[in-house]
């Protein structure tokens, strides 16, 4: 061609491309490089035939090798389940209260229970199990219905105050706004406050003592230390499920509280219920 230019210095043709006076030489690429490119193209085509690749109207081509990432995950899960089979059988037979905390079986139960907890329980009790107002903290040593392994399992399996499980733990506090005068309620609140707080109105509290014995002691006990059979909280300790200041206490006495937990025995497998019990028991508050 007429506009063919040859670089003087090297004797190589230029491509005609010039940037800032720098001309591009037309040096050939190595041929093996070209063959590598062709090989990659062939590979890519073969790959897209062998594996899922081409988008179609619904879904994509499935590939002649029948591979799917979902299938791979399922295989992985199956492999892990097969690996854990021995532990699963052992776990189904073991008495939870007698589980050795240093054993592999316990580690398995805690790990399995932890994942159930994070999926099902953390919405109410928090990812760290520290609960919140109205949702018990599972890390402390205060248990409304008992904190040994059997009680924990029972609470989880049947739930609290739900109407779907006949064995659900049940109790109900009356709303005292319909029973007592506001002044009387204030006196009871003052008495309860005196049990755990250094500052209170002694006169009011004394009046509250009598009212408490008449109205509240049947559930919360004469010394207000609660009753686990009824899930009646201990009012003399430092832990308050719904708040321990006068305002919160007054609201509780006037309107009563009615915390509900579903019966997990109806939603989870028995093994999952047992595992999550072990997990909760291991959080530091287990008795």
């Amino acid at each position: 061609m007429s506009d063919l230019k040859v670089d003087e210095e090297t004797g190589v043709e230029t491509t005609g491309h010039v940037w800032d006076g720098i001309e591009e030489l037309n040096n050939p690429l190595p041929r093996w490089w070209l063959w590598t490119l062709y090989a990659c193209i062939v590979w890519a085509i073969a790959y897209s035939i062998a594996y899922p690749a081409w988008p179609m109207l619904s879904g994509a081509t499935s590939g002649v090798l029948g591979y799917s990432s979902r299938g791979e995950v399922a295989e992985d899960i199956a492999a892990h389940e097969a690996k854990n089979q021995g532990l699963v059988v052992e776990f189904a037979a073991v008495e939870l209260a007698a589980l050795d905390p240093a054993s592999d079986l316990n580690r398995y139960a805690v790990a399995r229970g932890g994942s159930v907890f994070r999926a099902q329980c953390s919405q109410c009790h928090g990812s760290g199990a520290a609960g919140g107002v109205g949702y018990p903290n599972l890390l402390d040593n205060d248990w409304l219905w008992g904190g040994d392994m059997d009680n924990i399992t029972h609470s989880i399996r049947h739930g609290i105050r739900n109407d779907t499980d006949d064995d659900a733990r049940y109790s109900e506090m009356p709303a005292f706004s319909e029973i007592l005068e506001t002044e009387e309620i204030d006196a009871i609140v003052e008495y309860v406050t005196s049990l755990s707080m250094p500052e209170f109105d002694a006169g009011m509290a004394e009046m509250g003592t009598v009212l408490f014995q008449d109205n509240c002691a049947s559930c919360h006990g004469e010394k207000a230390t609660g009753d686990r059979d009824l899930g009646a909280p201990n009012l003399a300790d430092a832990i308050w499920l719904y708040g321990g200041d006068r305002e919160a206490l007054k609201y509780t006495v006037e309107n009563a509280r009615f915390g509900v937990m579903p019966a997990w025995g109806q939603r989870l497998t028995d093994a999952d219920v047992r595992a999550v019990s072990v997990y909760v028991h291991s959080l530091g508050g287990g008795e």
């Binding site: 190595p30 240093a102 890390l139 402390d140 430092a238 291991s282 530091g284």
Partner: protein, 467 residues
């Protein structure tokens, strides 16, 4: 359209045999590096009954790295990172001082290519014979020579891939398993891949790996400066080149010896080139020629390009040590040494008992029914010895804060099997009246102690109170 093809066939390189001091040095380096590579996995090292007795072992399954008396755990990976940084700095140091010495002498691609060329020469003869064979037709003789060569290459390649896997498991056991086809498929796969790459890279891709595949030639340009000692042609002495009878004034007689020995297929007389791996074979070749025609050696030589003006003028050049010792190389050396000293220090203060404390901060504290405040910690205890140990856990401020081990029934002691890490959940409680219960943050140190061996380790952390 341009008249020439966009793609060019590879020009094969047929390096000629050469003798000389650099060639000898390279033979020695080849022997030593290959020796280290092939023999290291077979060195035994007695570590006691529960630990492997291979001196150098990368144990992926149990995540340990054994190097003679040193044992690296996964959390000590900074040693590996540190060594990699030192390797990098070392490369910078050597490149800025001596150009591509790594490429020319110790790079595996160079060492194995050298070995492959040696085999090629034994079987097919030296340069001229090989060129003839290359252009000759495919008759019985050519097939015989080619196949012999490929078989030997393949044997070397298999040995290369085979040696690699021995670093990752007990070598004698693996050798036996490989022999009766019961080794792990990963072992066979690794050997297959390394065999293929060795065979292709050492036999067929050779200089193309250095030119196209390796990033280092591109980076090295930034590492070198006019003071760097590198292989160069003294054109002020050699030019104007020409055959003796042509009455040219330069020392170069245009015999092409330097070109014929070059494994990269270049002409060093064209000046500095990216392709040159500074293997110095052209120096040996030319020195030989200079000896024969009665001229001083060093027409091609290791030299610093900054010396050119002095040499042209006939004045003495700067001494080599002044080229080598300059701020840049001294800085690299200082950095290299300080990292090395740091790693050595870290190595010597290591104990075979360790703990790592991670406070659980969800929630930051737990209030107990009696008003006590509890914090939770996950403590990782590592027993790096070959024996089981009974460890006792305690706190600096023992009287104020109570410590409980989850699932240990009030015991503060626990046994860790040999060469194991265990994770233990620990509860620390401040009674309602302890200062720590109400303070925002209290400093705290966990101690772990092996009473029998009188070994202790500690880690500081904090305790969160109600505030």
């Amino acid at each position: 359209m341009s008249s020439q093809s966009l793609y060019a066939a590879q020009e094969p390189v047929f390096p000629r045999r050469v003798k000389g001091k650099f060639r000898n040095l390279k033979w020695w380096i080849m022997a030593v590096t290959l020796g280290i590579y092939y023999l290291t996995p077979w060195i035994r090292w007695d570590r006691g009954p529960n630990l492997p007795d291979q001196a150098v072992l990368v144990d992926m399954a149990s995540r340990r790295f054994y190097f003679f008396w040193i044992e690296i755990w996964p959390h000590e990976f900074y040693f590996v990172a540190g060594l990699l940084i030192m390797a990098g700095l070392g490369l910078f140091l050597f490149t800025s001082a001596l150009g591509r010495v790594w490429c020319g002498y110790t790079c595996p691609q160079t060492v194995w290519t050298d070995l492959f060329i040696l085999v090629e020469r034994w079987i097919e003869g030296d340069r001229n014979a090989r060129v003839r064979l290359y252009h000759g037709e495919w008759n019985i003789r050519k097939w015989r020579l080619r196949l012999t060569k490929w078989v030997v290459w393949l044997a070397i390649a298999v040995a290369t891939g085979g040696a690699w896997v021995f670093y990752f498991t007990d070598a004698p056991t693996l050798l036996r398993d490989l022999g009766n086809y019961s080794a792990h498929p990963v072992a066979y796969g690794t050997i297959a891949i390394l065999t293929a790459t060795t065979f292709l890279f050492g036999g067929f891709a050779r200089e193309q790996i250095c030119i196209y595949a390796c990033p280092w030639p591109r980076i090295q340009a930034a590492m070198m400066d006019p003071d760097t000692i590198t292989v160069a042609y003294r054109d002020w002495r050699g030019e104007e080149r020409g055959k003796k009878h042509e009455n040219k004034t330069g020392d170069c007689i245009d015999c092409m010896a330097c070109v014929n020995v070059c494994p990269m297929g270049i002409d060093i007389r064209d000046g500095q080139q990216m392709e040159c791996i500074t293997c110095a074979l052209c120096i040996d070749a030319c020195d030989d020629v200079m000896g024969k025609i009665g001229k001083p050696r060093g027409l091609i030589d290791y030299l610093a390009l900054s010396d050119e003006p002095a040499e042209r003028a006939g004045t003495p050049a700067t001494p080599i040590w002044k080229h080598v010792l300059r701020p840049r190389t001294l800085l690299y050396t200082a950095m290299w040494v300080s990292i090395g000293v740091g790693l050595l220090y870290a190595l010597f203060i290591r104990t075979d008992l360790e703990l790592a404390v991670s406070p659980v901060r969800n929630p930051t504290y737990v209030l107990q029914s009696d008003g006590a405040v509890r914090n939770i910690y996950d403590i990782r205890l590592r027993n790096k010895t070959g024996d089981a140990r009974i460890l006792h856990l305690s706190l600096t401020s023992d009287e104020i804060l109570r410590i409980d081990l989850e699932g240990r029934d009030g015991l503060r002691q626990l046994e860790i099997p040999a060469d194991t890490t265990i994770l233990q959940r620990v509860y620390v409680t401040a009674r309602p009246n302890d200062a720590a219960a109400s303070l925002h943050i209290t400093d705290l140190t966990f101690w772990v102690e092996d009473l029998d061996a009188n070994v202790r380790a500690n880690q500081a952390t904090t305790f969160n109170g109600r505030e």
